[in-house]
C-alpha cells in the first residue's frame, strides 16, 4: 500500500533565498509582481472563477499567505482572511502590491473577455510555481463548467494535501558546493527613455508559430532560447548604436534559469538563478551569427549543474552567515536595496525569461487558446521580455514603463527579416 506523504501544518514559512530580496526592493513605483494569463475560447464567468479560486487556493498554502516583518527577517504567514476576490482586468497591470491592504494577499485574480489572469508577488514563487497554480485553477474552473479535466502535467490534485517538497526552500538543499565561483560585475548599457506617467504599464505582445522559430533557430544551429537571446542582444546593440554614446558599454541580458531542470525538486516556490549572456561592442562590430555563437557558448559554459550549484551556494552563504543573521532587518533592507540599485540592476541591460513549452492535459486543449506571461515593471527604465510556448503558439511579451519602443521594434523586425510571421497586440495608446 503506498504511503502518502503529507506536509506538516505550518504556522509560518521563511522566505526562500530569492524571495528575501523582493520585499526589500518594494517602492511605490516598483513591485516584484509578475502576471500569468490564460486565454480561453469562451467568455469567463466571474462567479464560477471565484468559486474555482476558493477551491484551488488551499492546495497551495505558500500562496495563500500574508507577508510579515520580524526583527531579523520577513516571513510568510497563512492568511485566513476572506479573498482574494476576482476583479475586472485593468490596463496597467502588475501594479505595486501593498503588504498591508486588500486582505494582505500577495495574489490578484482578474478576468477580461476570455482571459483569466493571475498576478503574484515574486516572494511567493517563480513562474513555474505560479503556472502550477494557474493551470490547476483553470482545470478546476473548467470542471465547474462541466468538463472532465484529469490531474496531469501542471494540474495538481486539489483534494490532495501538498507534498512537503512543494513547500521547501530548495536552494538550501542544493547549496553545498565547495567553491563559489567569482561573479564579475561591470557597468552595462542601460536603456534610457521618457518615463510614462505613474502608473502606466506598456505591453507589446507578439504571437508567432513555434515551428517557424524553431526552423530559423535550426538554420543558425542553435536552440530557440539562444536564438531569441541573440535577437534581443542584437536589438539592444542597435539601440546603443543609435544613441551614439561617447563610449559604448557591454550589453547584457538577465536571464533566469529554472534550477528544477538540474536539481530535482517539486518546490512551487522560487528556485531560479540568473545568468547574463552578453556582447561587448568595444571589441568590434558583431554580426548576428557571431552573436548567436557567443550566446551558444556562454549557455553551454555556464548552464550546467556544477556552475549553478556554485552560484546558489554563493547566495546561500550570505543567509547562513551567523553575523549576517543577527543584523536587524532595517539594516539588511538598506544594504540590499543599495547593493541592488548600484550593482545588481546595473549588471544587465534588459531581462528575458523563457518559460519553455507548456503542456496541459489533452482534455484542456480544446478550451485553451494560449498562455501569456508578463514580467513586472522593471526596477529602472528598461524593458523586460517574457516568452512562453503552447500548442505551437510562441508568445513574446515586452513590458516597459518608457514611451520609446526602439528595442521592441528592432527585435520584431529582426524576426520578420528571418522569415517569421509575427502578430502584434498592444495596450499602448499612441
Amino acid at each position: 500500500m503506498s504511503k502518502t506523504i503529507h506536509a506538516p501544518k505550518q504556522e509560518w514559512y521563511p522566505l526562500d533565498l530569492s524571495a528575501i530580496v523582493y520585499p526589500t526592493l518594494q517602492r511605490k513605483d516598483f513591485s516584484s509582481v509578475y502576471r500569468l494569463s490564460v486565454l480561453l475560447k469562451e467568455e469567463v464567468q466571474p462567479e464560477v472563477l471565484q468559486k474555482a479560486i476558493e477551491m484551488t487556493l488551499p492546495r497551495f498554502p505558500t500562496y495563500k499567505v500574508a507577508m510579515r516583518k520580524g526583527l531579523f527577517w520577513r516571513f510568510l504567514e497563512p492568511n485566513y482572511r476572506p479573498g482574494p476576490f476576482v476583479q475586472p482586468d485593468v490596463r496597467n497591470f502588475c501594479m505595486p502590491m501593498s503588504f498591508k491592504t486588500k486582505g494582505r494577499y500577495l495574489l490578484r485574480f482578474y478576468y477580461h473577455g476570455c482571459r483569466i489572469s493571475l498576478e503574484a508577488h515574486h516572494s511567493l514563487g517563480d513562474g513555474n510555481g505560479g503556472m502550477h497554480l494557474l493551470n490547476t485553477l483553470t482545470a478546476v474552473y473548467l470542471r465547474l463548467l462541466g468538463h472532465d479535466i484529469p490531474n496531469q502535467y501542471l494540474v495538481l490534485d486539489i483534494n490532495q494535501e501538498p507534498h512537503p517538497e512543494e513547500l521547501e526552500d530548495a536552494y538550501m538543499r542544493y547549496s553545498n558546493s565547495k567553491f563559489c565561483p567569482p561573479r564579475p560585475m561591470e557597468k552595462t548599457y542601460r536603456l534610457r527613455g521618457t518615463k510614462e506617467p505613474f502608473f502606466t504599464f506598456q505591453v507589446i505582445h507578439g504571437n508567432m508559430a513555434t515551428s517557424e522559430v524553431l526552423e530559423v533557430a535550426a538554420l543558425y544551429k542553435c536552440t530557440l532560447t539562444e536564438y531569441l537571446n541573440a535577437v534581443l542582444l542584437y536589438a539592444l546593440l542597435q539601440k546603443q548604436k543609435d544613441d551614439k554614446p561617447f563610449r559604448e558599454l557591454p550589453v547584457k541580458i538577465a536571464m533566469p534559469v529554472n534550477l528544477r531542470r538540474f536539481f530535482p525538486s517539486k518546490t512551487l516556490r522560487n528556485f531560479i538563478t540568473m545568468v547574463y549572456p552578453s556582447i561587448d561592442p568595444r571589441l568590434g562590430d558583431y554580426k548576428f551569427e557571431e552573436i548567436i555563437k557567443q550566446v551558444h557558448h556562454y549557455m553551454h559554459y555556464y548552464i550546467n549543474d556544477k556552475f549553478l550549484r556554485g552560484d546558489i551556494t554563493t547566495n546561500a552563504a550570505t543567509q547562513r552567515n551567523p553575523f549576517i543573521r543577527v543584523v536587524p532587518l532595517f539594516i539588511k533592507d538598506f544594504v540590499v536595496k543599495n547593493f541592488y540599485k548600484r550593482v545588481q540592476d546595473r549588471n544587465s541591460s534588459a531581462g528575458l525569461t523563457n518559460m519553455g513549452v507548456l503542456k496541459v492535459p489533452d482534455e484542456m486543449l480544446p478550451h485553451v487558446e494560449r498562455f501569456d506571461i508578463y514580467m513586472g515593471i522593471p526596477y529602472s527604465s528598461r524593458t523586460n521580455c517574457a516568452i512562453i510556448s503552447y500548442n505551437n503558439i510562441l508568445t513574446i511579451n515586452f513590458a516597459s514603463c518608457i514611451k520609446e519602443t526602439d528595442v521592441e521594434k528592432y527585435f520584431f523586425q529582426k524576426l520578420v527579416q528571418d522569415g517569421i510571421k509575427v502578430t502584434i497586440e498592444s495596450n499602448r495608446n499612441h
Binding site: K28, P88, D89, R91, R192, T405, E408, Q413, T423, I424
Partner: protein
C-alpha cells in the same frame, strides 16, 4: 488583419497605430468592417489604482518615542537636574523631528507646500528656543532667522519648480546650482552684516560665478531639444 509597412508585422484589429514604429494603420478593407462590428480589444481599457500605503502605525510609534523622550527630559530638568535649562534643546529636537516626519504619516495627502512650511516654521521656532540658553538673541534675529527664511523660500521655489515645471535630472541640477549660488551670496552678506564688517563679497562671489556658468550651460543644453537628447544618450542617463 493589417500589416505594418515599416516593420512587416501583422497588427491586431484593435490597433490604429503600429506600437513599434507609430505608423498609422489605414486598411480600406477593414474600414467598412469596423463600422459594423465592435472590435474587442485584447486588453482592458480602464486604469487601476494603486492602493495607498498607510504608515500610521510607524507614525504612532514615532510619536510615542519622541513624546516620552521629551517628557522624560522635561521632568528630569524640572525636578532633578535644575541647574540650567538643558532640556530645551532636547524637547525642541523631539518636537522638530515629530513635525518633520509624522504629519505625512498620518495625513499622506498633505500638500508638499504645507509640509515644507510647517517644517520651516518648526526649525525657526527651535532656533528661537535655543536663544533661551544664550545671553542675547541678536544672533537669532540678525543671522539665523534671515538665513533660515531664505533657505525656506528657496526650497519652496525648488519644490514648486520640481513639481510643476520639470523634474528631469538636468532641470533639478539647474535649480540646485541656482539655489546654491544665491544662498551662498546671502549667507556671506548676512555674516558681514552680523559682524559689522564692510558688505563685500569674497568666497560667495566665486561660488556664485561657478554656479552661474554651470547654470547657463545647463540652460543652453535644455533649451535645444536635440542637444538635450544627445547629452542624455551620450552620458547614459
Amino acid at each position: 488583419m493589417s500589416y505594418c509597412v515599416e516593420c512587416g508585422v501583422r497588427l491586431d484589429r484593435s490597433l490604429k497605430v503600429c506600437p513599434l514604429c507609430c505608423t498609422p494603420v489605414i486598411n480600406p478593407n477593414e474600414v467598412a468592417e469596423n463600422c459594423n462590428s465592435v472590435i474587442s480589444a485584447p486588453f482592458a481599457a480602464h486604469k487601476g489604482e494603486v492602493e495607498p500605503m498607510s504608515k500610521r502605525d510607524v507614525g504612532m510609534w514615532l510619536s510615542i518615542v519622541l513624546g516620552s523622550t521629551a517628557l522624560a527630559c522635561g521632568l528630569l530638568n524640572l525636578f532633578v537636574f535644575q541647574h540650567n535649562r538643558w532640556s530645551i534643546p532636547v524637547v525642541g529636537a523631539c518636537i522638530l523631528l515629530w513635525i518633520l516626519f509624522c504629519p505625512r504619516m498620518f495625513f499622506p495627502k498633505i500638500p508638499f507646500s504645507i509640509n515644507l512650511l510647517g517644517s520651516g516654521l518648526s526649525i525657526i521656532f527651535y532656533e528661537y528656543a535655543l536663544t533661551l540658553l544664550t545671553k542675547t538673541d541678536r544672533w537669532f534675529f540678525e543671522l539665523c532667522f534671515p538665513i533660515t527664511l531664505i533657505c525656506l523660500i528657496l526650497f519652496s521655489i525648488l519644490g514648486i519648480l520640481y513639481h510643476y515645471i520639470s523634474h528631469s535630472l538636468l532641470a533639478t541640477a539647474l535649480y540646485l546650482f541656482i539655489i546654491v549660488g544665491i544662498m551662498c551670496v546671502f549667507i556671506e552678506f548676512n555674516i558681514h552684516k552680523f559682524w559689522g564688517s564692510p558688505l563685500k563679497l569674497s568666497w560667495s562671489a566665486i561660488v556664485f560665478s561657478v554656479c552661474a556658468v554651470i547654470s547657463i550651460a545647463l540652460i543652453s543644453i535644455m533649451s535645444i531639444k536635440r542637444l538635450r537628447i544627445a547629452v542624455r544618450k551620450r552620458l547614459h542617463f
